[in-house]
Symmetry: D2
Subunit: 338 residues, 4 copies
């Protein structure tokens, strides 16, 4: 069967690989239909993800159709469209014991530590599958949105609270939608007016272009001078990491989703004086998948605007190359597999 394979840093190709032969008795065989690409796939292509070895099949944002009945799971019928959670968890680390498998110390994500889904058939554990009244395109957006929804949950974004989301790209857009889903008053911040326009459609009631505005002043005006109750950082730069701590309200919550490449130096006095909660957010939990599905089923997300490129499998090597050269030109790329 066909697959896209990352051969080496900067080099991808369309290859022929063996079909899955057998599978564990808690798995089913899936025909892959659509795959979304995200920033971590670009990182893998560029050879910048230390967890990826080559060759590696990428792809963890999946819309698929069940290809075969596993007689132990008669509810999951051939022909059903599903999406899936691409994570594993060990069951024994501190995170797993605390019922937070999303942060498993030994997690292996599809397309990162193990081969991904950018191929024609895969096997997947039944307890990782989600079905929904959604189109394949919507199903393929579930997983990327869960990351922002999980950040909204980590931040305990609540009805009526002003929440600022720094960065309205893929992950930030999910955080905007997740906070709006929870009833918060969402302020989206970005440099890019197009992304801000989509953020508004995803639920931001206020948007701030950080290239033009005095962010501190705008946030103060929108929050009676108190600052947002929650700030979700979805950019990954040291100065926005610090700004989140400085601009959030007293006893507010700061959520970090991304990785800053350099160390971040903090005035930790603010942690204590404001009595902050500073919260990492990693991957997502089953409840996040269900919440995203509910939101998409209620048609509350601008699916078409959010997906900027749809291409066939054959074009993936070329588009990875183009994306790597001009990252800002691409937002969400979706691949029609079959």
């Amino acid at each position: 069967m066909k697959a896209v394979v990352l051969e080496a840093p900067g080099r991808a190709s369309l290859a022929t690989v063996a079909e899955p032969q057998t599978h564990r008795d808690d798995e089913v065989l899936l025909r892959v239909r659509k795959i979304g690409l995200c920033g971590s796939d670009l990182n893998s292509f560029r050879g910048r993800n230390p967890l990826v070895t080559f060759p590696r099949i990428p792809g963890h944002e999946v819309a698929a159709t069940i290809a075969e009945l596993n007689p132990k799971y008669p509810d999951w019928l051939p022909g059903m469209d599903v999406t899936l959670s691409p994570y594993t968890n060990c069951g024994r680390c501190a995170s797993c014991l605390r019922s937070r498998p999303n942060a498993c110390q030994f997690n292996e994500t599809l397309g990162v530590q193990r081969d991904g889904a950018l191929t024609e058939f895969i096997t997947a554990r039944v307890d990782r599958l989600y079905r929904a009244n959604l189109s394949l395109k919507q199903l393929c957006l579930v997983e990327p949105l869960t990351v922002g929804f999980h950040a909204a949950a980590r931040g305990r974004a609540s009805a009526g609270e002003p929440v600022a989301v720094f960065g309205c790209g893929g992950v930030g857009l999910g955080a905007v939608a997740g906070c709006a889903f929870r009833g918060a008053t969402v302020i989206g911040l970005d440099l890019d007016d197009d992304k801000l326009a989509i953020a508004r459609k995803a639920g931001a009631t206020h948007i701030v272009n950080t290239a033009q505005a005095d962010v501190k002043k705008e946030l103060a005006e929108l929050t009676n001078g108190r600052g947002p109750d929650v700030i979700i950082e979805a950019i990954g730069l040291p100065h926005t990491f610090r700004a989140a701590v400085e601009l959030v309200a007293f006893t507010g919550r700061v959520v970090y989703i991304g990785y800053a490449k350099e160390e971040v130096a903090y005035e930790t006095r603010l942690f204590v004086q404001k009595e902050l909660d500073i919260l990492g957010s990693r991957n997502a939990l089953p409840g996040d998948f269900r919440d995203v599905i509910r939101m998409l089923e209620a048609d509350r997300f601008p699916v078409d605007e959010a997906v900027t490129h749809v291409v066939p499998m054959e074009e993936v090597p070329g588009i990875l190359d183009a994306w790597s050269r001009e990252p800002a030109r691409f937002s969400k790329i979706m691949i029609n597999v079959s």
Copy 2:
């Protein structure tokens, strides 16, 4: 009446000041009996607390006796021994609106932004008073212990969880006792064997002398290799701030009580990868006062070991001077006022 007055940085004197004449109708008049000194009083004496202007009467750890009946509050009778919460709160900032007055943006602490209790009579709001079946010496220890109890609560230290407390001085000792009160398995860490011995009496089941031990190895051994579920930092140095984040378990909680004087540079990747909660802890809430009182009433704290010096009011200027020159020689100083 007599009072100790900080006249200028490094200079304290015993002075005569006017007695409180009138008071708000929600206040009562108190005769001060004992006052404890803490590190923040030393800071004020040294002129290093930017919130303190001179002259200033210090003192916020108070054991007192009600001196006069306020007829609106017939439950609070003259002769009753009490302690008090030394904080004010504005009622309108983000912290107050979130029912977290301990972190009020406009808090004024007794002895810091307003004159303190190191004098013969003070007035205090009735809703800031606590009575208990405790001696004056115990009452005088309530407030300093609340700070560590609040940190234990912020860290959600839970029964059976391994919790490490970095620093077993005044504040850290309260954190040790607070975590033990909540049923956690407490590991006390300090450079000083005497402090560790008291920590053990306050509830630490394990102690680690950081001058001699490989901290990472010891903590790993005590926690099945996972690291403590909670680390409470009560030292205030950049390297212990960072170590807390590095050594805590996946999905663990790090609590900061103190202020690091310099910026702290973090590898923020750990915030996300471990999905940590990093939590500031400031002052204390009414529930913390009640918990400390319950613990002291149950006689579960080594009061006599924890108070190292007891002096009359006249000796305060001298002992402040001595403390400033040799901070390590003093632990908890308590003053007999009347």
Copy 3:
């Protein structure tokens, strides 16, 4: 000044009473503008509230204007429109110590245990006041809506969860709005199509007329057969009390706001087998007032439909009489005081 006075069960009159002469130093003088009536006022009029003695001035749903400056509270200026929380709390009972003053064992509500606001001037504690960008009519609706908002909070109604509200009268309507504010999917149930129509405007996405529908079947259909995650009972009949426990999902939450006049016999096996949370909900907390204000400021409540009668003070005795005879004919009565 004028006041409406309940003289005896079934008898109200417009009377002249003394103006407030002095007030505590934490209070301000208010000119009353509008008063809403609720079912508990009707109960008091009928002599069915054992907490009410006669004569008594009713009225606890208040829109007022600050009449005089209290120099200790310079933020609260004469001319400002406000609403207020009509409760007191003792500060010492189990509820108060748990920061749940809404359920104070010794609460005294305006118009119940002490004279209410259906008069020209009242005094009120500053920390019970709320200002907002709202009309007087909206301000007067804040308090009645808080009761349902508090029930939504007690039930932890969450984004995306199906929540059923039994009874869409005054209190139930607030619960519908409160659950919708929190992002839940609200199912409103009532016998009366008019009330259901208003419930829809207040945020119910589904409505069920219980006179015509098979409630069990409808709720099952709307919830994939699982039952609602939360059921809020706002009727007060034994059979709806029981139905809530029978129809709620496994591990769901049942909230009771009202009082059933008779004992309710339960099959308690369901409490355990479903591992339910059965939660009383009483009065409201400051956060509920702020949430209602946010919702009304966002213009998300059908204020005009919800208020069915607006009358001058002179007509109150007559309308109480009419209401007592034909309760079903009246929904929310609002009185223009000045």
Copy 4:
């Protein structure tokens, strides 16, 4: 291999049954070492459990030794002693979706809906196993204690809070130990002085013999007149079900573990006026198993006093018969299987 089989209501026999032949790839083979009997086993024997059909092998309190390596789980080695969670869960019901598999709508408990462990060999899912530094006798007590620990968790019994446990038999004893483990001040109530004496060893700081004392007065005296913050009902009678609601503090929590055979008629006014949480508690979660193991490892439970009878497998039919005739004569029966 040998097994005890319930043949029909009131009739048990020692029989020969087939050994487990194959097992799912997520299971291991266990040699059963000890089995505890609990009240539900007696119910099954008597034919009073509608979920049990005959013939049925009982037994869900298990100490076992791993008999064979499953190569997929190299951490679980032959010779290891383990205990296990006897529940299944469906993964799709409301409870499972809410991460509360203990209350799965379609749970099948070992020895109830499917054959149990009172035989020589069983297979068990690896993710249901727990290992510990415990003797076989202690391992065999883990599961019964988890039921009370779960109730303590459901009640959110907290450090310093007074908690009353109604009934100090098997389940109640676990609740006493669980509340003590969480730092609560535990008041044990029972008719039987022997059980109260064991409750004291399990962590109750106060005991009340309900045959002799005025329970209301005693509880009031022990709680400053407020009533316990939490009451856990582990008896199952209508009048103790009601008493829990009447005696608990305002805004307190009532937890029900057991089943009252008849309907219970409540004055529901108390639910609302006190703003109670009334909470069912069913089975246990993985965290409860880990907490019980920690407690037993810390040697904080009177294992020998709690187990009143130890018998070989051959005597089970006889002892079931004796137990059924004189239930009060037996407390915890433990069976040596191999």
